[in-house]
């Protein structure tokens, strides 16, 4: 059960943050039709893919509304969902895998995209 603070944040802060800092991306669920969503993106430098040793991988931390106009927590499938997003701001978009749900709080899903 969300706290009143979380509910307030979800209703008022999240839509404003997305409006101010969001950018367009396209969400490709592994089972279903793609759709355009707004996301907040932190573009980290290249990182090491720890599962496979010393191999570089691009990592983006993406915040998206935990709602039907974003991605709902129960539809997210980190086993195959993808995001069409630019590795560099303003650059060409490419299809990247959503590999992990980092956190789910206050109306935002925080996702690791590689």
């Amino acid at each position: 059960m969300p706290t009143r603070f979380e509910q307030h944040l979800r209703r008022t802060v999240v839509p404003n943050l997305v409006r101010q800092f969001g950018e367009s991306a396209e969400y490709f669920p592994c089972n279903g039709e793609s759709r355009a969503i707004e996301v907040l993106v932190i573009r980290d430098p290249l990182s090491i893919a720890s599962e496979v040793g010393e191999v570089l991988v691009n990592a983006l931390v993406v915040r998206v509304k935990n709602a039907s106009d974003g991605i709902t927590a129960d539809e997210l499938d980190t086993g195959g969902d993808k995001l069409l997003i630019a590795l560099r701001s303003g650059g060409d978009t490419s299809l990247r895998s959503i590999v992990q749900l980092l956190s789910d709080a206050n109306g935002f899903l925080r996702l690791l995209v590689q």
């Binding site: 592994c30 496979v52 040793g53 191999v55 980190t78 086993g79 195959g80 590795l87 490419s94 895998s97």
Partner: protein, 130 residues
């Protein structure tokens, strides 16, 4: 274009792994086989295979002097197969992994190539990470 022996071996490994398809008698289709590049443009996907090339070390027992001398090297290629199951999948993780492991091992076993230009290389497969 002529490739070095080690590059030819790497390309052969990639080529053979790319042939893992249902149409060729395998239980699944490999999504893609990639070798990492500088910009790290790859993205983890289910049934993707990453081919990593390790260091080459000289194999003294297979090398021999002469004109030209035969120089043998051991190079390790590590095949990292990605299994990314659905969040809603209840099947045991190991049982999903086990099947592709067998097929990757079979497919990637290479015989040492014939000597070329006085150089011999030997490929050993060190590990399989899934």
């Amino acid at each position: 274009m002529a490739y070095t022996v080690i590059e030819s071996i790497a390309r052969e490994i990639v080529s053979r792994l790319e042939q893992i398809k249902i149409a060729n008698g395998y239980a699944f289709n490999v999504t893609s086989v990639i070798r990492p590049n500088r910009n790290a443009t790859w993205t983890p996907e289910d049934r993707l295979i990453l081919v990593k090339q390790g260091d080459s070390t000289k194999n003294e027992s297979l090398s021999c002097p002469g004109n030209p001398p035969a120089m043998a090297f051991d190079t390790t290629f590590e095949l990292c197969g990605f299994v990314r199951t659905s969040d809603f999948c209840s099947k045991e993780y190991e049982s999903i992994e086990n099947d592709p492991v067998l097929r990757l091992s079979k497919r990637s076993r290479l015989k040492p190539p014939t000597p070329a230009c006085g150089t011999r290389s030997q490929v050993t497969q060190s590990s399989l990470t899934l």
